[in-house]
């Protein structure tokens, strides 16, 4: 789609297509390499990095305190009880893993669709996936009550002569999430090997050469290796795509297999997946916008990326809106007293405020993204990303909490009020995520250099070379 409102003499706009460029003009193989590797190889760590790292580290300290106290006292320090036995832990599990899904979408699905613009943001989107999965995977384990027995979930021969129960979606979750974490790490690392080779060769310090050398496993850029590497990347992308769709579908089955009103519905898998991508893109923008500003990467993460991410958010937001309206429609159309009451309770019950926050943040405000001007406004986009992340948190809160507080039997109704330990743990995982991200941008190449080189015009092999006798094929 042409962007006519952009000034004609703007160097960031391609004069032929009228679109914003994916990469600023005038770059060479060397300049893109330097632009990315200088962030990692500099001997002067910016003060801002130290500041952010310390703040995030402090928050990780809070997480450590919360988790230690949880181990000592048990899940009773949280607000989870009957009827709301799932509470914040499961809300946050679903929220974090959903955020991770955009990373896989960007790195895998957009690779399969040959979307070149993904190249500058895929590495840190994948990193985001891994850190989000780490945060997510903590919660079900912490919620076990006896977290030190978490390994009982895996099928292994043991003296108790006991095996897991494979007919339960909670068991499926174990395999979906562990596979997702493993494949994400592998995909991320394999994609990074050529860049680690670049860092090994450009590093000036012995320590850097040693560690990057070790991680680069002796990559030397042989074209035979590149061919296999490309096949392997394509296969991993092809595998990650059905994987990412299955992971959030399986998570939604945790809910929809149960017979709770508001949970027992077939719309859940697709609508969970769309919501996951929605929140994930919001998180990509939340991270990308400050990073490109701080590290002056406006040449590599351009308005085109921000615009495209906004379009994906708008589209997935509409799918999510369709999901919400289907829920409301089915509550009425099912003619089930319980479903009808569930929806009334969600909207106008004691926790109705959370439903309306969700609708405002996820459906109403994101409609502003229809405006091309606002989509290209960096500050507005950042604000919108934060709003959508909040909205998606409330979506999971509404699903988990409002359904559980009031089920079939009024005598078993209850309420839910999170404790300071609930808030502390959630806040702590935000810190852990940021902490890991700070380490990542300081020590690993956050933009794939080899893929940026491929996007430059001089990377193409021209059909007609200068005349030197061709000796045949």
């Amino acid at each position: 789609m042409a962007t006519k409102d952009a000034p004609v003499n703007n160097p960031m706009v391609d004069p032929v297509t009228g679109e914003y460029r994916v990469i600023a003009p005038g770059h060479s193989f060397k300049s893109v390499t330097e632009e990315v590797s200088r962030i990692v190889l500099t001997s002067h760590t910016p003060l801002g990095w130290w500041f952010g790292f310390m703040v995030a580290g402090t928050v990780v300290g809070i997480l450590t305190i919360c988790v230690t106290w949880l181990f000592l006292k048990g899940v009773g320090i949280w607000a989870v009880t009957i009827p709301v036995a799932w509470g914040f832990a499961i809300v946050e599990f679903v929220w974090w893993i959903g955020i991770g899904h955009a990373g896989t979408l960007i790195s895998a699905i957009l690779l399969l669709f040959k979307q070149g613009w993904r190249n500058s943001i895929n590495r840190f989107a994948e990193a985001m996936t891994i850190f989000a999965v780490i945060c997510a995977a903590m919660f079900p384990v912490l919620h076990l009550g006896r977290p030190w027995l978490g390994y009982w979930l895996f099928p292994y021969p043991n003296t108790m002569n006991y095996w897991p129960q494979f007919r339960s979606p909670l068991m499926w979750d174990v395999f979906a999430v562990s596979t997702y974490g493993t494949i994400s790490v592998v995909f991320w690392y394999i994609g990074m090997i050529p860049d680690l080779g670049t860092l090994r060769d450009r590093s000036q310090t012995k320590v850097g050469q040693f560690f990057y050398g070790l991680l680069a496993v002796g990559w030397r850029g042989s074209v035979r290796h590149w061919v296999r590497y490309e096949t392997s990347s394509l296969l991993l992308a092809g595998l990650a795509t059905p994987l990412v769709l299955s992971v959030h579908s399986v998570i939604s089955l945790d809910f929809s297999v149960a017979l709770m009103p508001g949970w027992h519905t077939t719309i859940f898998p697709p609508y969970f997946v769309a919501g996951a991508i929605y929140s994930g893109f919001a998180m990509v923008l939340t991270l990308a916008i400050p990073i490109r500003k701080f590290y002056h990467l406006e040449d590599l993460i351009t308005i085109r990326h921000i615009d495209n991410c906004n379009k994906v958010m708008l589209a997935t937001g509409l799918i999510v809106a369709y999901g919400y309206s289907t829920e409301v429609f089915m509550a009425w159309y099912s003619a089930s007293h319980w479903e009808y009451f569930m929806m009334w309770n969600r909207m106008f019950g004691p926790m109705g405020w959370s439903y309306w926050t969700l609708i405002t943040c996820n459906i109403a405000l994101p409609q502003l993204l229809w405006s091309r001007k606002l989509r290209k406004n960096v500050g507005f986009t950042f604000l919108m990303a934060l709003i959508i992340n909040t909205g998606m948190y409330f979506e999971r809160f509404v699903i988990v909490v409002t359904s559980l507080t009031r089920d079939y039997l009024p005598s078993s109704w209850g309420t839910y009020r999170a404790t300071k330990w609930d808030y502390g743990t959630f806040f702590g995982t935000l810190g852990l995520f940021t902490f890991l991200f700070f380490l990542f941008i300081r020590f690993l190449p956050m933009i794939p250099m080899s893929e940026l080189r491929m996007m430059l015009p001089q990377a193409r092999v021209r059909e007609k070379a200068e005349p030197i006798p061709e000796a045949g094929d």
């Binding site: 670049t198 496993v217 850029g221 035979r224 296969l235 299955s246 080899s450 030197i468």
Partner: protein
């Protein structure tokens, strides 16, 4: 194993992928077979030019995936039917639809691991030492912005003087000797 000594090959450095591909085609045409190109990003045409057309990564991945599928489905069936049969509301022990999800996940897990580590194994990596790193200009450019063609001394057609003049005829930036 005794370390080989002497000349590993002759390495020509090029400014652009187009020049590299032309030189690689010429070398292949002239009868050289033991050679390799080194580029900072994938240049498929160069692989074609030196006669490397297909890789086995897909096959390894397929085998890995099928093994993963069989392993998990077999494990689930064995556990649920023989090792630890649980009667859940009278449902059949062999309730295969419930086994699909973990089997599906393990198909992806095993094929993904096979694609990644199979690729590394087929490339002979990790291999931290390789003679090409001895070329003085290699590490400056090969992973940044330069394109290399190395004709190896084990090729029957290789003859130091003749090969050097052949490479110099391909308009390289430089031609250097690579020692073991």
């Amino acid at each position: 194993m005794p370390l080989p000594e002497g000349l590993y090959g002759l390495m020509a450095e090029f400014e652009s992928p187009t020049q590299l591909v032309r030189a690689a085609k010429a070398a292949h045409g002239a009868g050289y077979r033991r050679m390799d190109c080194y580029t900072p990003y994938p240049v498929e045409e160069a692989a074609e030019a030196i006669g490397f057309h297909r890789d086995e990564v897909s096959l390894v991945t397929l085998i890995g995936g099928l093994l993963g599928l069989a392993a998990m489905f077999g494990l689930e069936a064995w556990i649920s039917v023989w090792a630890f049969p649980l009667n859940i509301a009278g449902r059949p022990y062999y309730s295969w639809p419930a086994f699909v999800v973990p089997a599906y996940e393990w198909t992806i897990l095993w094929s993904g691991l096979s694609a990644a580590f199979g690729m590394l194994a087929l490339c002979g990596l990790p291999k931290l030492y390789h003679p090409v790193f001895n070329a003085p200009n290699f590490r400056n450019g090969a992973t940044t912005d330069k394109f290399f063609l190395c004709l190896e001394s084990t090729d029957p057609k290789f003859e130091a003087g003749e090969t050097r003049s052949f490479l110099e005829g391909q308009a390289p930036i430089s031609v250097v000797e690579v020692e073991y």
